[in-house]
Symmetry: C2
Subunit: 335 residues, 2 copies
Amino acid sequence: MKPINRQVLLASRPDGIPQAEHFLIAETPVPQPRAGQVLIRNEWLSVEPAMRGWVSAVANYSEPVAIDAVMRSFAAGRIVQSEHPDWPVGTPVTGLFGWQDYAVVDPSGIQRRIEETDLPLSTALGVLGINGVTAHYGLLQLGQPKAGETVVVSTAAGSVGSCVGQIAKLKGCRTVGITGGETKRQLCLDRFGYDDALDYKAPALAQRLENACAGGVDVYYDNTAGEISDAVMARLNVGARVVICGTASVSNWTPSPQGPRVERHLLVKRARMQGFVIFDHPDYYAGARADLAGWLREGRLEYVEEVLEGIERAPDAIAGLYRGENLGKRLISIA
Amino acid sequence: MKPINRQVLLASRPDGIPQAEHFLIAETPVPQPRAGQVLIRNEWLSVEPAMRGWVSAVANYSEPVAIDAVMRSFAAGRIVQSEHPDWPVGTPVTGLFGWQDYAVVDPSGIQRRIEETDLPLSTALGVLGINGVTAHYGLLQLGQPKAGETVVVSTAAGSVGSCVGQIAKLKGCRTVGITGGETKRQLCLDRFGYDDALDYKAPALAQRLENACAGGVDVYYDNTAGEISDAVMARLNVGARVVICGTASVSNWTPSPQGPRVERHLLVKRARMQGFVIFDHPDYYAGARADLAGWLREGRLEYVEEVLEGIERAPDAIAGLYRGENLGKRLISIA
């Protein structure tokens, strides 16, 4: 066992998107589990857009990470020392173990024992983790797509968006992805099966969206807000559902950015716009995960991972997401 | 019977809010019903904010009123000549009979026979008409208020808003009305039973709203959009429902006015924002009307009417609504 636990600490609080300079890497002794606890060796650390909110001092759905605390994150690893009879050494587990090599936790701090041992451990953080469950809940519970409807997804090639697009396709919808750059656009078409895909960085998005959605938009799964959403909102069909999952295109909400008011679209189109936070729905996870694992095993659900090697890549990793530089689910490998 | 039918025609198409100059009054012979038809003498003509949309050339939920056609409106009156056995002379009826003294219609053009003959005929256009039904549907079906929750209503003293506030109160909610001017504010408190009422024209609305809704806002019944809504959106509670019923504060949607983006509020507060058009729900009317008539007879529901005397008041009547000059349901008496 390594004697040192490398930890990524929040060094200062960012105004907007956390940058590398807001973190520092500390080396501390590997902690020892007390009675009833286990020691976990993390193998994969997750990087999520939502982590911006977790370090924000602005009122939010979770307590902000404290200064000098280990950065909150999902991780997947294995139990390497156990003082609890139900959690033997070698058990693969996932939970909010933080950006660090090792974590000592009570069993209540383990989100789950990873049962899908036929699938890569890293899937517990992406397609079988909150990304996949978020896609499943937001699309099916709030978006409520019906076969034949048109579903538009922003950040279409991302870990949530790619899953949304594929589930919508499995449900018989026409899918249109919006993503940044030609590489991701091709990924949307080639790997994630979108019927059409648009690069928001290219000119005339509104016109291209109109061409891609000649029959209008029935469900908009929104991970970006901003000008991308403005273009989509103008194309809603009567009875459309807009799922607010993230606001990746907005770098700072203080003061609030301005945009075209949405009320008239919602009124004239009798449309619904609804936000959600997946952590409100823990009872939903197992069923959604069973669906997702089933689709994975049947080869009906694709996922793409981008692996950063080494914990020293962590401090800049969130900023990189917002720069749009990742292709697929961003993970840090520290095994 | 008067030999002349005075009609208010749409003379030109307004860009935004229809003004007196967009209409003209014509005098034509009283039409004669053919077999199966009836002749109705209108006694009350309705004036609604929604009529702005009915004359708009911009895509909408209804076909725009044609140039030189009689202005579409709800009216209440009595059958004065009948060529249909089921619809005897003297029957009180309501429907889209237009801004005119007389209308010849097929029975399919009659919205309903007015059954509440113990109540004033004019109530068929307000509290027992689309205003009351709109309030009932929007609040109870979309707003879904629970006892003890805080419900905020914009245009709180209007024909829809006053009904929303009172129904919310009947359901055990705390009600806060937003209205324009001290007279309407007092009306909200004295007649419509709001727990608090705010004049949006006075300074520091956001601060006064914060004081009035210290526990946050659970349901926002929005008839205005614009800056009033911006203040309310910033006070939403987790799980809040925003009902988009009208956009009275926005004089023109082309180009779209800008405002603070709402996505972050919806996301962080897991809130829902939903538009509706009551004409989508004709099967809902009778049940809602029965509730409303019951509350009226029990003295639990108040309404205020503002009566303009004579059809020559019609052309300026919609513009006056948007100037906020009316107190209560605006009606034109032509009996």
